[in-house]
């Protein structure tokens, strides 16, 4: 249950996050008797049980921090089975879909389950996620994960091709999220699944042509407030740095003896004075595009 509520100490069966560095974050299912192999050496799971979340764990040749799982850390640690949605898009999706305690939300497809965890968190404790995945292997892995994470009460995962077979849900949902190659073919089914008093919809598409077709279909089917947007994360690299100060040759405005001048030059040329500053320089290599997010409202229908 560690995904749905905080607990102080690690117990057998928990899923924990191992934080080695910002670029090396993994997840671990704690199983008494097993041993974790890290690049810093081996650690017995048994030694982790009872440890406080947030603790530093020493390995033979280094250390890591063992953290309580959150949707955001899970997104950084999740085993990629497909291209996943990252926290920047996820936070926009959960916000714009107006999810709250008790909401019912539909997701297609499940993919690596990165978004699913955030959707479930937003509707806990009484809400529900219906998630659909047509890829057999991914479906099975996601189902296993929901079980491992103690989330089964709040999620139903179905192995189905919703593009052809629809959601088969009638007026139960407050929100629908689509990450499909042809979302427009699912909008009728989504409309049917949304509650009669209405709800919100989101479609994620990487290509603008898909967006055009989706927006046109949404308008045609009576969705309102159609808005397409994009958000990108720009990380900053903080460092204390400096720039040398070049020698300006301002000393000798008037004529001086030749010898003295040469001496002066030599000493100036090696001036090591420096201008120091702390900078938050944007990281050079950034994700330039994930996808376009289209949101719309359906009012009582």
């Amino acid at each position: 249950m560690s995904f749905s509520s905080y607990k102080p100490n690690i117990e057998n069966g928990d899923v924990a996050i191992l934080y080695f560095s910002p670029l090396n974050i993994t997840q671990l299912k704690i199983r008494h008797g097993q041993t974790l192999q890290t690049s810093y050496g081996a650690v017995k799971h048994a030694d982790l049980i009872g440890v406080k979340y947030g603790s530093k764990v020493n390995c033979p040749k280094g250390f890591f921090h063992i953290l309580h799982p959150t949707s955001e850390l899970w997104t950084q640690a999740v085993p990629h089975r497909t291209q996943i949605l990252y926290s920047t898009d996820i936070s926009m999706i959960t916000f714009q879909l107006e999810l709250t305690a008790g909401s019912v939300v539909i997701e297609a497809g499940t993919g690596s389950g990165s978004l699913s965890h955030a959707l479930i968190r937003s509707v806990l404790p009484t809400g529900h996620l219906y998630t659909f995945e047509f890829h057999k292997e991914r479906y099975e892995k996601a189902a296993k994960e929901f079980e491992d994470h103690g989330l089964t009460e709040n999620v139903t995962i179905t192995h189905r091709d919703v593009l052809n077979d629809g959601f088969q849900l009638e007026h139960v949902a407050d929100a629908v999220f689509l990450d499909l190659p042809s979302p427009w073919s699912c909008i009728d089914s989504a409309k049917q699944a949304l509650k009669l008093k209405g709800g919100r919809i989101c479609s994620f598409s990487p290509c603008i042509e898909q967006v055009s077709q989706t927006c046109a279909t949404l308008a045609e089917k009576g969705f309102q407030d159609i808005k397409t947007l994009e958000c990108l994360l720009r990380k900053f690299h903080v460092k204390h740095t400096g720039m040398p100060k070049a020698c300006l040759g301002e000393l000798t405005e008037v004529e001086k003896a030749h010898q003295a001048k040469v001496e002066a030059r030599k000493s100036q040329a090696t001036s090591q004075e420096s201008y120091e500053y702390v900078t938050a320089g944007p990281v050079h290599d950034m994700q330039g595009h994930t996808g376009f997010l289209t949101f719309a409202s359906l009012y009582s229908h």
């Binding site: 749905s4 509520s5 905080y6 934080y19 910002p22 974050i25 406080k52 979340y53 947030g54 603790s55 530093k56 921090h65 953290l67 309580h68 959150t70 949707s71 955001e72 850390l73 926290s87 920047t88 936070s91 926009m92 959960t94 916000f95 714009q96 107006e98 709250t100 305690a101 968190r121 937003s122 806990l124 404790p125 008093k197 967006v211 055009s212 927006c215 308008a219 009576g222 309102q224 407030d225 159609i226 397409t228 947007l229 994009e230 958000c231 990108l232 994360l233 720009r234 990380k235 900053f236 903080v238 204390h240 702390v278 900078t279 938050a280 376009f292 289209t294 409202s297 009012y299 009582s300």
Partner: protein, 455 residues
């Protein structure tokens, strides 16, 4: 969002219900009241037409009244007038308003004569000397523009965090520290607001984050709003339709009282109460200049909140509000004094609970978004949070976060430190006219995020 079912029942929206009115991209929060006249942009209308309607209903503004629409129309979307190159191809058009034969005073006369907005737009098209020579796109744009001006349609919406945020951002972005929707949603997600958890918040920007988190918690757990320099802001709470339980889960505590936290907690209640009263009465209620938000609540007109009732919402919706307000200036009756005592008692109990959470170092998240230097606030508040919990600090400028980052890095009190900004862009998606929106926001502020660790 709403927990009380009566407002969505068959009888529809009733008097006293908080709604948000949407007119194109303009939002206004009001409490439905008979004969109450509202102004949105250039139009005025009373709210009578809303009573009995469902949320989501579209209404037409005609002759200062809200009347039902015959057939539901696609909301008028603001369309970009400049961007499409096709616009430049209107070869022989000279830019001028002289192309319209109907003059402004004639339009006014038509309106007075009760001619509908739709009809006026039709007449304007007929009498435009250039309309027929325009490209198809330009014609469409022309119609949209005129419709936006003359055909006023509003939609009645249920207040949600998304809509309240949108309203603030559009109308008074400075009041919320120029925080943009992408930044706001990132904060809410990163803080990992699980039901039942204790969220510590410092928020001097209208309490928008406080309200959003309370809404997310759904009446479970606690929001402990930490008050810096006696600046207690919770303006935003009243724009929500928060349940009684949600409002009950809102706690507050003065930051400068942290030094005496333990002794205050152990003190007997009587002492505490009188003490409380003193410190409360000395609080500056609104640090910033009055917020220019479009609301017709009289109470918000003076731009301040009062502490005496935690449930501003229910108080406000009383029809006797004005009367009560007048009475406040008089000497209090014994009944009123008793009511005041009840409130103080309740506050005292809540105060103990907040103190307990802090004493137990039992916060599950920390959000800082204020006009104060964040570094000292952050370092101080870190004493009261569990290990392995998320912390988010918002700042309009990056420099204060840099200072925070360096101090924090040095302290070794967190992992997964990041300073980020998000880049946000909206698109106009229309057949043959798809492009990013021409005006955008250059900045939505910066975030410092990290996870606490055991000391």
């Amino acid at each position: 969002m709403l927990s009380d079912p009566q407002t969505t029942s068959k009888t529809g929206i009733q008097e006293g219900t908080r709604v948000i009115l949407q007119k194109s991209e303009d939002y206004k929060s009001v409490i439905v009241k008979k004969d109450n006249v509202i102004r949105m942009g250039k139009v005025r209308f009373n709210l009578n037409g809303i009573i009995g309607k469902e949320f989501g209903t579209q209404l037409l503004i005609e002759d200062e009244k809200l009347v039902p629409i015959d057939k539901p129309t696609q909301d008028v979307q603001p369309m970009d007038v400049q961007a499409c190159s096709s616009d430049r191809s209107n070869k022989d058009l000279t830019e001028s308003d002289e192309n319209q034969r109907i003059k402004q005073d004639e339009i006014l006369k038509m309106k007075e004569a009760g001619i509908s907005g739709e009809e006026i737009v039709d007449k304007l098209i007929e009498n435009s000397q250039t309309f027929q020579n325009k490209t198809e796109f330009s014609q469409e744009k022309y119609i949209k523009k005129k419709k936006e001006k003359h055909v006023a349609v509003i939609r009645v919406l249920k207040p949600t965090t998304r809509l309240v945020f949108e309203m603030f951002y559009r109308n008074s972005p400075a009041d919320i520290g120029y925080m943009r929707v992408d930044t706001f949603s990132q904060i809410l997600a990163f803080a990992n607001i699980i039901r039942g958890s204790h969220i510590g918040i410092i928020d001097t920007y209208k309490g928008l984050l406080v309200a959003a988190v309370l809404d997310q918690l759904g009446g479970t757990g606690a929001v402990v709003q930490m008050i810096p320099d006696n600046i207690f802001l919770k303006d935003c709470l009243k724009y929500y339709d928060l349940s009684e339980e949600s409002l009950e889960s809102h706690y507050h505590y003065g930051i400068e009282q942290l030094g005496t936290l333990e002794s205050d907690y152990n003190k007997d209640d009587t002492m505490d109460q009188s003490n409380m009263a003193t410190s409360t009465s000395s609080m500056k209620m609104d640090y910033e200049t009055p917020c220019n938000l479009p609301t017709d609540d009289n109470q918000s007109a003076n731009g301040t909140d009062t502490l005496k009732s935690e449930s501003v919402e229910s108080t406000e919706s009383q029809p006797s509000k004005r009367k009560r307000k007048r009475e406040e200036k008089k000497i209090k009756t014994p009944e009123e004094l008793e009511a005041d005592r009840q409130v103080r008692l309740k506050n005292s109990v809540k105060r103990k609970k907040a103190q307990k959470i802090l004493l137990d170092k039992n916060l599950d998240a920390l959000i800082i978004s204020s006009k104060f230097h964040p570094t000292p606030l952050l370092m101080r508040m870190l004493e009261f949070i569990n290990p392995s919990r998320p912390v988010v600090v918002y700042s309009q400028h990056i420099e204060p976060l840099l200072d925070c980052y360096m101090k924090l890095k040095g302290s070794g009190k967190g992992v997964n430190l990041h300073i980020t900004e998000t880049w946000y862009r909206e698109y106009q998606v229309l057949p043959q006219r798809t492009h990013p929106v021409v005006r955008m926001s250059g900045t939505g502020g910066y975030l410092l995020t990290f996870t606490t660790i055991t000391p």
